[in-house]
């Protein structure tokens, strides 16, 4: 059962080949047998999952099933889940039982989906390797000496090892696309504002966006259809119609104009990764797509601008963790200031503290214009680069990451080298565009991802372009040997 996609599982449930309870038990057993090594889940919510599955089986029997009814999912531990621990990968929230559901969780519940558990992640989504989690690093199912990427590393590893058919993630600077690339999954980061951020623990509010890890673009279309839409509870969510994302999957890509930004194929790109991207481009050429070289001239400013905007917003957002209303509180505080400082100092890990420090500095009196405002202006230039490019092309393609997965521990002592592993994904967040990563080959048995970027709210186009590639290639169907 675990090699099936969401679409195939839905068909199996509908035909009575298996029940949701059987399916859910199967995944829970797989998690018990395999997750010890991978550490992809922080919480396995088996009781809730089985109750939801039982309910789903009744709904199916009554002929009232929707597309996701009875399908098990893993949810990133950044989404608040009513009555279930929501840690965000942090000691700060190790004791936090969320008192309400995030809108994303509510959408899955309303669709009759089953929640297997909450997945491991970099602390407060700050990291690119899933090594900053309070709950320990997640391992890459393709080779456990390697990182799965981050920050949604647990969501990626869980699906790569088929410990869930699909999962949710969040992407602030590449946190869905980068782990999807490193774990051989289809990762979708929708346009900023497409999916509600309500109940999704905030890191950088002007960049954060929820999305999906799936085996196929078709599955991503099914999930996005449930997740997308206006939410009155999120003032930045956008009132755009939600199309049927599956309706356009089968359109051919003949005549599709694809831009290849020269800045994304420059120094720093691994030679073998570049070859796999070339192979993917050739497949698309066979399907009739046309390629042109384009330029996104302000690309080199995206990492610098990001490392002001994200820490500045993080320092502001994380000021709510003060040891007073919920979360970690230090022992025996001697006064209020001691309570704040020690609760935060003891509750947050190193990378989170580093980013709070950078952000507090950038926002401190006298520095706002030089840093945050300057970075917001750079964002405009980066967004303008994309707007210009989309006047000539339908989509943009590039590698998702400059290299395949790196080893656990390899970049731990050097935050800046870690930051540059997101060099091809960050600009998309700064501009707020939708982006995907699609499996396109292997280097030494480690996966490589092709990034596809589309104009605002053109998720249907993205999914269509990815789906067409998956009709003529089988990279996305490959599973690590020990998890087959």
């Amino acid at each position: 059962m675990h090699t099936k996609t969401i679409a195939q599982l839905a068909a199996g449930l509908k035909s009575g080949e298996f029940s949701s309870v059987e399916l859910t038990e199967h995944y829970i057993n797989r998690i018990k047998n395999h997750d010890g090594e991978l550490n992809s889940y922080i919480t396995v919510s088996d009781d809730i999952a089985l109750a939801q599955a039982k309910q789903a089986d009744e709904t199916i029997a009554n002929g009232k099933a929707g597309l996701l009814t009875g399908i098990p999912f893993a949810q990133k531990d950044i989404f608040c889940t009513n009555g279930v621990k929501t840690s965000c990968g942090s000691k700060m929230l190790d004791n936090f039982i969320a008192p309400y559901d995030a809108t994303v969780i509510e959408s899955f519940n309303n669709a009759g989906a089953v929640m297997l558990g909450k997945t491991n992640m970099d602390e407060f989504a700050m990291g690119s390797s899933n090594e900053t989690s309070f709950y320990g690093p997640v391992k890459n199912p393709w080779d456990t000496e390697y990182v799965p990427g981050g920050s949604s590393g647990g969501s990626a590893a869980a699906v790569a090892a088929r410990l869930a058919p699909a999962s949710t993630g969040t992407d602030t600077g590449g946190s869905i696309r980068q782990p999807a690339a490193l774990c051989n999954l289809t990762g979708l980061k929708p346009s900023y504002g497409r999916v509600s951020r309500y109940g999704m623990i905030a890191f950088a509010s002007s960049l954060d966006q929820a999305g999906t890890f799936t085996q196929t673009a078709e599955d991503a279309a099914l999930m996005l259809g449930v997740m997308a839409g206006l939410d009155e509870k999120d003032s930045t969510s956008i009132d755009e119609p939600v199309p049927d994302y599956t309706a356009s999957l089968n359109q051919d890509v003949k005549g599709l104009k694809v831009g290849l930004p020269k800045e994304y194929f420059a120094d720093g790109l691994d030679v073998e990764v570049a070859k796999r991207i070339d192979d993917a481009i050739n497949e698309y050429k066979k399907l009739g797509a046309e390629f042109v070289e384009i330029s996104l001239p302000n690309t080199h400013l995206s990492v610098p601008a990001y490392y002001i905007v994200a820490p500045a917003e993080c320092s502001s957002n994380l000021s709510r963790f003060d040891g007073v209303r919920f979360g970690y509180r230090c022992e025996d505080p001697k006064d209020l200031e001691d309570l704040y400082k020690r609760s935060r100092g003891e509750g947050f890990g190193d990378e989170v503290k580093r980013r709070i420090m950078v952000g507090a500095y950038a926002l401190s009196s006298g520095y706002y214009d030089a840093y945050y405002l300057k970075a917001q202006k750079i964002r405009r230039l980066i967004a303008n680069d994309f707007s210009e490019a989309f006047k000539q092309v339908d989509v943009i393609m590039s590698p998702t990451t400059p290299t395949p997965a790196f080893k656990v521990g390899e970049k731990n002592d050097d935050p800046i080298s870690m930051y540059y592993s997101d060099i091809y994904t960050i600009a998309v967040n700064l501009a707020g565009l939708p982006g995907m990563s699609v499996p396109c080959g292997m280097v030494n048995n480690l996966p490589v991802g092709l990034q596809i970027i589309a104009p605002y709210f053109a998720e249907a186009k993205l999914l269509n372009v990815a789906h067409q590639y998956q009709q003529v290639t089988d990279w996305h169907q490959q599973i690590p040997e020990q998890y087959k």
């Binding site: 956008i238 500095y361 707020g432």
Partner: protein
């Protein structure tokens, strides 16, 4: 970036940091600020800052109560409460 800068920023952020970690903060923050220095290679005098990717404006709503009072529910997860109030160390003598 010096020791006293780190101490001042940590104080602003109400973040307790260990004395022994200060040299590492000095190095890391210095490096990160050097990295973002690249922003100054372009002139942005005439550029409008981007606050929302699609330049959406704040949605307004009627000023009506839509949330129910769930104080007890929310206070169940608080470190320390008494009579519906959050407790902190004494602030005023």
């Amino acid at each position: 970036m010096e020791k006293k800068d780190i101490e001042q920023i940590a104080n602003l952020a109400r973040l307790g940091i260990n004395e022994k970690d200060i040299p590492e903060y000095v190095t890391n923050l210095t490096n990160i600020l050097a990295l973002v220095e690249e922003m100054n290679t372009v002139n942005t005098d005439d550029v409008t800052p981007m606050a929302h990717p699609t330049d959406a404006v704040q949605r307004l709503r009627e000023d009506v109560v839509t949330e129910t009072n769930q104080r007890e529910h929310f206070q169940k997860i608080a470190p320390q409460v008494e009579d519906g109030l959050y407790l902190v160390p004494q602030v005023i003598e």
